[in-house]
């Protein structure tokens, strides 16, 4: 078979830690090829090797019938590989035109940028996507969806043979997704190949021809989309037998029966800005309430509002005797709230600090007497949590960055358990941790609510929500739209609730 791209036995390690060990990828001309895998499976690394951002340690790459010598994004573009990265690779301060034509400006006399022609060309490309905007305005003044489409427009305008799209729909609404699919189909019709990376499996069925599955830095499966079941794909990503998944469920959460203790916290009509406009929720003691919703539905914003990170612009939050949202994180902690953030690296760990120092960061005010830290008590507490949560670390002085993701997450969980909160907000508590640690973390959460405390659980994994939460508040476009109660919630019901949320005022 004559592949446009053929990557084989690709290996790559960072600081001795292997990210890819035996990855391969074949893409035929005019094919829309899906690439799936869990976070950390190595998809992004593989793409960055292909586009010359990283150099590979081993393996071969053939593109367009030749051994590839691409060593920079620029060379990749010139070879005909265009990439739309997940984190938009655009410059919001600069104009739409500049973002589309940068590096390939039309010129007069070979030197001066021909802005007139540049604007015309940009407008022409965008019209093909059904976008009509002022191309001279700064890109940042438009919505994320438009920025996303501009990124694609740039890629397409470069006459690429292969277009790589990394999570292109994560910030698009339904009609924009359809526009995007239209573009993908027209690319395929023109003989251009597309490598399509997405977490949304349903999308893949709609537009992809074949799918490559990666796990732990290896390619584990290549198959045609047609005839593959969702279970096949998930099984491949997780490395489990599909029958097991169907039979047993994958989480440590036993289907929660709705318990009704006294009300711990209630939120009514809470708004913090355009991303969270109306959020209602009641949490009882001994209860896990899940927040369901797609990326950008306002899940994380709701958590931030409860913890007092974003000031309220409307509505009210009541917790116990306390009326009103906490104004600062310190106040929230004082009021008995803990918040495990979604992004462990950016908002969780202090990488250079030890396990001990990371674990007691939120507890410091209570460990301190006249400014001085009670170090004996600190060590005692830390050792207690290391034992209780089974944290695998050489000792409590080991820098946290040297721990595995699951153990880092346990340290952060301990950070919040240590302040003895009544309410824990957990945003993606098991993201990026291995299966074993995941079950342990879930067991810790269960233990916590069993003591009569409350948990707000956010997770992109529907299984975790469906099996873990006693109730699920479903969010859509910044509003809470439905509430589901266990037992009886299935993934299908949840997905249905997500899909049938009210559609009000679709963003331009």
């Amino acid at each position: 078979m004559n592949n446009l791209l053929s990557m084989a036995s690709i290996a790559k390690a960072f600081n001795g830690v292997p990210a890819l060990s035996d990855a391969s990828l074949d893409i035929a001309p005019g094919e829309v090829h899906a690439l799936i895998g869990q976070n950390g499976a190595g998809k992004s690394t593989l793409i960055k090797i292909l586009t010359g951002v990283y150099t590979r340690d081993g393996g071969t790459i053939r593109f367009d019938g030749r051994d590839s010598t691409i060593s920079s994004p620029r060379e990749a573009q010139e070879a005909g590989i265009a990439t739309i990265y997940q984190e938009l690779n655009l410059v919001p301060l600069r104009s739409v035109t500049e973002n589309v034509i940068m590096g390939y400006e039309p010129k007069t006399m070979g030197v001066f940028v021909d802005w007139k022609e540049a604007h015309r060309r940009t407008r022409e490309i965008l019209t093909r996507f059904g976008i009509d905007i002022d191309v001279r305005a700064p890109l940042g003044s438009y919505s994320t969806a438009i920025q996303q489409l501009v990124a694609i427009a740039r890629a397409v305008s470069l006459d690429a043979r292969l277009v790589i799209m990394d999570e292109p729909t994560s910030s698009l609404d339904t009609s924009e997704v359809q526009t995007l699919f239209g573009v993908v189909r027209s690319l395929r019709a023109a003989g251009v190949s597309v490598l399509y990376v997405s977490h949304f499996l349903d999308e893949l069925y709609e537009i992809c021809d074949r799918v490559t599955t990666m796990r732990d830095g290896r390619t584990v499966d290549v198959r045609a989309m047609q005839g593959s079941t969702k279970l096949d794909l998930i099984g491949g990503m997780l490395g489990r037998d599909t029958k097991d998944i169907a039979a047993a469920g994958m989480t440590e959460f036993g289907g929660g029966a709705a318990k009704q203790g006294e009300v711990l916290l209630s939120a009514e009509g809470v708004a913090t800005g355009p991303r969270l406009t109306r959020f209602d929720m009641t949490l009882h003691r001994g209860e896990i309430v899940g927040l369901g919703g797609l990326l950008g539905s306002g899940r994380t914003e709701a958590a931030r509002a409860l913890f007092g990170v974003d000031p309220l612009t409307g509505g009210r939050i009541t917790m116990g005797d306390r009326d009103g949202a906490p104004a600062t994180a310190a106040e929230a902690i004082g009021a008995g709230i803990g918040y495990l953030t979604e992004d462990r690296k950016a908002e969780g760990i202090v990488p250079g600090m030890s396990v001990r120092e990371n674990m007691t960061l939120a507890l410091l005010p209570r460990l301190t007497r006249r400014g001085q830290i009670d170090r004996a008590r600190e060590r005692e507490l830390v050792q207690h949590y290391i034992d209780a949560l089974g944290i695998k670390t050489a000792d409590m002085e080991q820098p946290i960055r040297e721990l595995s993701g699951g153990n880092q997450q346990k340290v952060l969980l301990a950070r919040w358990l240590a302040v003895e909160p009544e309410l824990l907000i957990l945003d993606e508590p098991t993201r990026g941790v291995d299966v074993g640690a995941k079950r342990e973390i879930q067991a810790i959460i269960r233990d916590f609510v069993a003591k009569g405390f409350g948990v707000v659980l956010i997770s992109s994994e529907f299984e975790e929500l469906v099996e873990g939460a006693d109730r699920i508040v479903v969010l859509n476009e910044g509003k809470s739209v439905t509430e589901l109660t266990n037992p009886g919630i299935t993934e299908d019901i949840l997905v249905g609730a997500l899909a049938h949320g009210p559609k009000e005022g679709v963003a331009a």
Binding site: I333, T341, E347, G352, A362, L364, G371, I373, E402
Partner: protein
């Protein structure tokens, strides 16, 4: 399963490299001392030691403040200007008619008021950085230039000379045979070391530099901590300014603390402070200051011109930061 196993070198032959990286400062110090012992005349004499200690104390005091600022991921370019300001204020106060009338009060005021002015400068820097969110380089650039300007306006650009035995003790006094300011620097180091290792403030300084958002979401008083380090740094600079004036028995607003920001940054970085924050080696700053001073001394004692010493210092800074960047990767 940790990354630690991977980091430790496997072959014994390559062990000198990490050793040199983590102990580069000490190695450099030993090399410089050995070089001087062999080639610089009179190096191993008490007089030389005194000269060097009295010089190094001011650099070390400022460098420790700089280390705290750098630990939060910031930088303070205004230290030299703050030195000039406090140094200009002190003689203005104790030479005034009022202070001549009541010498004790005058002396206290001559130390307290300049320190207060320095702390206000630090407050200004801290507010600019933490509340107005101006980049530290730019925020402290304002006082870098106008602080010295204020000092010159106050003294009308004049050199103020004086004889004042008590005040001069700051710069020329001896305790147990060694310069007073050396002991002062050591005492400050011990206090700061305890602050950094034993107090919540110290912990927060490192957390803010290591991951500001994590520190904030864990309830850390990020703004107060940032203001705090700039205030401490400015306070120490003010003190250093007074010491310089006391050493010289003269205050020259144009020269006092000139280029001190460079010495202080260099000393902090040579001492092991990471420019991106999260580390505050207090005694490292002293080690760095000693190295900077000894390099300067070595060059001067061996007949190299002052100007060339500037260039040498430039290369030390570049080398220290470069080694640091390389270690990060």
């Amino acid at each position: 399963m940790t990354a630690r196993d991977i980091d430790t070198p496997i072959r014994a032959g390559s062990a000198w490299k990490p050793f040199l990286r983590s102990n580069g400062g000490i190695v450099a110090l030993v090399v410089i001392v050995l070089f001087n012992a062999m080639f610089t005349p009179n190096f191993l004499q008490a007089q030389t030691l005194f000269v060097n200690i009295s010089q190094v104390a001011t650099i070390a005091i400022v460098a420790m403040g700089m280390t705290l600022v750098i630990a939060t991921g910031g930088i303070d370019l205004s230290v030299g200007a703050v030195m000039a300001l406090s140094g200009a204020l002190a003689p203005l106060i104790f030479l005034s008619d009022w202070a001549q009338g009541s010498p004790t009060l005058g002396l206290i005021a001559a130390i307290a008021l300049p320190m207060l002015a320095a702390l206000v400068c630090g407050l200004f820097n801290g507010i600019m950085v933490s509340i107005l969110r101006v980049q530290p380089i730019i925020a402290t650039l304002i006082l870098f230039i106008s602080g010295r300007g204020i000092a010159q306006v106050l003294t009308n650009g004049n050199l103020q000379t004086f004889t004042h035995a008590q005040f001069s003790y700051l710069g020329t006094g001896r305790v147990l045979g060694l310069p007073f300011q050396g002991w002062l620097a050591l005492a400050i180091a011990v206090v700061l070391f305890l602050v950094m290792t034993r107090t919540a403030f110290g912990r927060y300084v490192l957390a803010v530099g290591g991951n500001e958002r994590a520190a904030a979401l864990s309830g850390g008083p990020v703004r107060r901590v940032k203001v705090g380090v700039y205030v401490i740094c400015a306070g120490l600079s003010g003190l250093a300014g007074l010491i310089v004036v006391a050493i010289n028995s003269a205050s020259d607003a144009a020269r006092n603390g000139q280029l001190m920001e460079l010495d202080a940054i260099a000393a902090a970085v040579v001492g092991g402070a990471l420019l991106q924050g999260g580390k505050a080696p207090i005694f490292g700053a002293i080690l760095g200051a000693v190295i900077i001073q000894l390099v300067k001394y070595t060059l001067l004692a061996n007949g190299v011109e002052d100007e060339v010493a500037l260039i040498a210092k430039a290369f030390i800074i570049l080398a220290a930061v470069y080694v640091q960047q390389a270690r990060k990767e």
